[in-house]
Amino acid sequence: MSAKASDSRLPVAKTYKIYIGGKFPRTESGRYYALRDGDGDVIANVCQGSRKDFREAVVAARAAFGGWSSASAYLRGQILYRIGEMLEGRRAQFVTELTQQGVKAKKAEAEVDASIDRLVYFAGWADKYQQVFSAVNPVSSSHFNFSVLEPTGVVGILAPQGSGLLGLVSNIAPAIVGGNTCIALASETRPLCAISFAEVLESSDVPAGVVNILTGSSAELAEHFASHMDVNAIVYCDDADGEGTQIQELAAGNIKRVIARVGLNWKDDSNENPYLIADTQETKTTWHPIGR
């Protein structure tokens, strides 16, 4: 399996797990799918995550929401930056994994670099987007009135199939920098970096449950992401076989916010702007009388 034997030493292959509530279990279902390289050799037996895995991840994400959403913006920014630092330190591993999954070396390097830079980009927004999007509203009556952004809550992310690391990072970063917690379903065809990224998260001071990462089939799990009553928003990045329409229909069950990021070129700088943070934010307006 995995890394091929060289002449001198038999390498130790990694067991790829899923990431729920800061822990690395295999799927409760016991199911797997074999990920193969271009030669047809097995690289890994990847967890075929189940509905139950997802539901447990939602519980973990909800439990983490209170603490993470009230963490200071400075702290959230530093933690996102720390993720970037940790990823930089393990750059070679991610390049290797991407190439194992069929990405050419140069492109793999560019993807890892862009992922690190994107984390740093969003880290810097943590204590700034509020100032861009909040307002003091000049109401006519004798009240002090202001509007601020607050995180929507638990966000489900169906990460893009075509971009195993950068696509995942580009969707997780804007959600969590704004204080949301999330459950991401990794690319089914390029899942390895997602799980290694979970290991990066685990060593980056990201509190348990803030990011949960599953592997498995989007065709199977998308409907559960879209219909779960304790998920507040869903982000999807592919629209194969009318999946997007199904997601939108099911999302109506609890008036989920639906964010479609379909057909994007994840390398493009257009994926770096604060409106991506605002996508999973709510505006709260507070009134107080002015008087004696």
């Binding site: 509203n137 009556s141 009135n145 509007s147 329409t245 109506a252 609890n254 008036i255 709510e282 107080h288």
Partner: protein
């Protein structure tokens, strides 16, 4: 209890103070306002709109079918592609300013018609609904040529034709909330008022015509739910804006799946109004009354759950009951009236079913207010004590003058109870401690939070819900984003 009972009446009886209605003009029959003129509905169907205080018909109103909706959407498209998008943004704003001014000039007429058609007290329609409607047009008028400054780094572009469906609780105000930002951003609209309160929207259509707006920029189509569904589902609509129940909002969100229509939904609520022991109790009691009895409780953001700290619960409830005794229920056109008519027979039946349900669930009911008239639809101000969190009258939106009262001991318990609902539209907190205010207003999961006040609205102030109370915001700078697409800036 240490506090003394407040005396509100001073020993005087209120003489009737009816609002004069002689200066209003209503036609016997209203067609559909499409392409700048009133037209007959294609299949000739009309329905009556009823004064809920007298059960008498006020006018006959057209029922728009699929063909009419198609005609209205085409008219709106033609206006969008024609004069409205070619006009300078400054001129677009000037038309909106003009509407605001003309509404102010005719405000009393609109207030009277609003109270006649919907049953709300003239004091509210005169002092709140109509002035706020005019203010909304005035506010958004000024945005029309300043959109470049609203969205840093983005290029804001209009969406096209907006299909807008509004409720019966604030008929003209909801029309203003919908039409003003849509037009300011360069869209054209087809608006459907609620079937029980179409008249002020039709009067607004007259006003829009008098203001000289290009034909088709504003279209008003009347009818019931199926008319609204036809509008929402018309393929020529680019954007849907709906205010109403969560059940209908859910159906709309579902029906829009797979279309590229943008939508905003402003849905139901079950707001908690939280009274701490250190609050100014008499002010808080007024806030509770305003929170739940304003507009007969037909308010999505009403403070329909009272959470009162245990140590002051007896005092607050007694004072509330005393205050409720003084509320005048009756003729909406009487300037003394506090609580007008329930909007429709159907809504009265719904409220009454909840009153029965509350008692069946074991809660204790108390009703205040004056005796109600013989004819018309009325509900006296009502509170329930002895309710638990799982009771349906605690969980479900009643949309009437019905308050469910619970107690709490700690701030954490109040927060847990306040947030224990699928809704998240609004909330209230009453305390003299600043730190406690910020703790509560930060932690309540709702789009609007009133501290030491309740049910205040302003065109500059964004409004809208968390969770199942809706998607998007209306009002203020934030309300603009519902009516534009944001393209990458230059």
């Amino acid at each position: 209890m240490s506090s003394t009972k407040l005396s509100f009446d001073g020993g005087w009886e209120y003489a009737p103070a009816p609002q004069d209605t002689s200066h209003i003009s209503l036609d016997d029959r209203y067609g559909l306002f499409i392409g700048g003129e009133f037209v007959e509905p294609s299949d000739g169907r009309y329905f009556d709109t009823i004064n809920p205080a007298t059960e008498q018909s006020l006018a006959s109103v057209a029922s728009a079918g699929d063909k009419d909706i198609d005609r209205a959407v085409r008219a709106a498209r033609k206006a969008y592609e024609g004069p409205w998008s070619k006009m300078s943004a400054g001129d677009r704003g000037k038309y909106l300013f003009r509407i605001a001014r003309m509404l102010q000039e005719r405000s009393r007429e609109f207030a009277v018609i609003e109270s006649l058609d919907g049953g709300k007290p003239i004091r509210e329609s005169r002092d709140i609904d109509i002035p706020l409607s005019a203010a909304h047009f005035f506010y958004y008028a000024g945005w029309a040529d300043k959109l470049d400054y609203a969205f840093p780094g983005r290029d804001a572009r209009p969406l096209g034709v907006a299909g807008q469906v509004i409720p019966w609780n604030f008929p003209l105000l909801m029309a203003a909330w919908k039409i003003a930002p849509a037009l300011a951003c360069g869209n054209t609209v087809v608006l459907k008022p609620a079937e029980t309160t179409p008249l002020t929207a039709l009067k607004l259509a007259e006003l829009v015509r008098d203001a000289g707006l290009p034909p088709g920029v504003v279209n008003i189509v009347t009818g019931a739910g199926e008319t609204g569904a036809a509008l929402v589902n018309h393929p020529g609509v680019d954007k849907v804006a709906f205010t109403g129940s969560t059940a209908v909002g859910r159906a709309i969100q579902k029906s829009l799946a797979g279309t590229n229509k943008k939508y905003t939904l402003e849905l139901g609520g079950k707001a908690a109004n939280v009274i701490f022991a250190d609050a100014a109790i008499d002010q808080a009691v007024e806030g509770i009354v305003n929170g739940i009895f304003f507009n007969q409780g037909h308010v999505c953001c009403a403070g329909s759950r009272l959470l009162v700290q245990e140590s002051v619960a007896d005092e607050v409830i007694q004072k509330l009951k005393d205050r409720m005794q003084t509320l005048i229920v009756g003729d909406p056109l009487d300037k003394n009236t506090d609580i007008g008519a329930i909007n429709s027979k159907a809504q009265l039946e719904r409220i009454e079913s909840y009153l029965g349900l509350g008692r069946e669930e074991g809660a204790e009911m108390y009703q205040g207010g004056s005796a109600t008239p013989e004819t018309g639809y009325w509900c006296r101000p009502t509170l329930f004590t002895g309710v638990s969190q799982s009771n349906r009258i605690v969980q479900e939106e009643i949309f009437g003058p019905v308050l469910a009262i619970q107690t709490f001991r700690t701030l954490e318990e109040a927060l847990t109870k306040a947030n224990n609902t699928p809704y998240g539209l609004s909330g209230g907190v009453w305390t003299d401690k600043g730190a406690k205010i910020f703790k509560m207003t930060q932690q309540v999961r709702a789009g609007v939070v009133w501290a030491n006040t309740f049910n205040k609205f302003d065109p500059t102030s964004p409004f809208g819900g968390y969770k199942e109370s809706g998607v998007g915001r209306e009002g203020g700078l934030h309300g603009l984003s519902a009516y534009v697409s944001l393209e990458a800036g230059q």
